[in-house]
Symmetry: C2
Subunit: 266 residues, 2 copies
């Protein structure tokens, strides 16, 4: 019998294996960000860890939700919507060219209450660990690479976070329901470049984290496990069977389910 | 004998009790933010928790450090410096009036590499708990109030974090070493107001957190402890003695120490 961690891990691996553009997961983008795949593969090759959500980093521009509803300040929430979103730094430059902004600021008594925000959000990874010892080791590895907003939640899930952000209000919603820009094109170009710098910094932090996880998490595990050849063969057979079974279930389930839930990240 | 948690708690309470403007702590500001005091007092009245650092939220404007040194992107770091910082929303409006900016953008081939950032950073609290059960309960309480970037670190320290931020590049350092603004005064006024909105939102989140901690952390503890009158009297006596002893030590130590270290928050 597989324990509950191994069952959960097999189920998630099966979901990852069947996710592609034709068969999307429940995130807004629908697929795993390419930049995350190498580090996810490394983490998931460790017998005591499994990634549960990931976003490699992104630029988004959106109109805030209606605060009379339940929308939070600076969040898309109810009634807000994306004007632009990308996980690819090559797509950032001049993103505004296809967007229909009003550029004339009105001199009226109208007090805007909903704003247009330009955000850069860095890598975020959630990793479920088999036990607290593994979770603490992963947490400390992340902290040592500068992911200073990391922390362990419930069920030994480690949130890996860093604060290389941009959070810039650039406009507002006017009385006619049009988005009005408060900055000029020079400034938009300037923050595009700032976002690209942060994409680069984020990528180098991601690579550092990947190296450190490979060094620190695997070195000690191998010593700790001391599995015999036979134990390893049996474990691999059990894991393979569980993965196959979960894969079959997953394929059935996806056909039954809708795609309209939004997880926290991605 | 007090256990190590009680000793640490007595020492921190003694530090808090002796900190004031004439006798500052090691944070840049030197004193505890007023808005934090009520929630800190509540937390610290619980026998299994002690606050280890706090910042009630602030606006800061600074020149980034020199990236050739070890400075991080978007951080003050080596060679950077504050142009303005406040924890008081009433001080935000028109902060730039006393600062000597160049407002004329030069048309040259100079590529700036150091930027001026305007930031709003919300409440952050670190709380050391006696055990993992208490840490997990506090973590879940914080998450339930929207402090979604919270997490448990090592030694049962809970980091309580929320992402109501602003992170806005507004200028750069030119060849002559002067700060040049990239936005106009209208935009500066606009982001002042955005920061004040976030201060208000932050304060209401802080109050919500305070209420929930009072409700959730204390209700169950009282049931759990079931301390007799005599046990309580003995504990209070022990705690009082330890606090007094730590207070005396702390007063001696402060006279010996410099004030030039910067902790992470505050």
């Amino acid at each position: 019998m597989l324990d509950s961690f191994d069952q959960k891990k097999a189920q998630i691996l099966a979901e990852i294996a069947t996710t592609n553009e034709a068969n999307p997961d429940l995130s807004p983008k629908g697929t795993i960000d390419e930049l995350c795949l190498p580090i996810m593969n490394s983490i998931n090759s460790h017998s005591d860890m499994i990634t549960t959500s990931s976003c490699s980093g992104r630029v988004s521009v959106f109109l805030e939700g209606d605060k009379k509803g339940n929308s939070k300040i600076g969040a898309k929430g109810d009634g807000g919507h994306w004007l632009f979103v990308t996980h690819d730094k090559r797509q950032v430059s001049r993103w505004w060219k296809n967007i229909d902004f009003e550029c004339q600021i009105e001199k009226s008594n109208f007090k805007p209450s909903r704003f247009v925000l330009f955000k850069f959000e860095p890598l975020i990874l959630h990793v479920k660990c088999r036990d607290l010892t593994t979770a603490q080791k992963l947490y400390q590895t992340a902290m040592s690479c500068g992911f200073r907003e990391s922390g362990i939640g419930v069920n030994n899930i480690v949130g890996i976070r860093i604060s290389i952000k941009l959070d810039i209000p650039i406009g507002y919603l006017n009385e006619e329901g049009k988005c009005v820009l408060l900055v000029d094109e020079n400034y938009l170009e300037f923050i595009d470049n700032q976002a690209i710098n942060r994409f680069n910094e984020n990528e180098s932090k991601l690579n550092l984290l990947h190296r450190k996880i490979s060094d620190m998490m695997f070195a000690t595990t191998e010593m700790k496990i001391e599995e015999t050849k036979n134990e390893r063969r049996d474990r691999k057979r059990r894991e393979g069977l569980a993965k196959q079974e979960a894969l079959m279930k997953e394929k059935g389930k996806k056909l039954e389910m809708g795609q309209n839930e939004e997880p926290e990240d991605g």
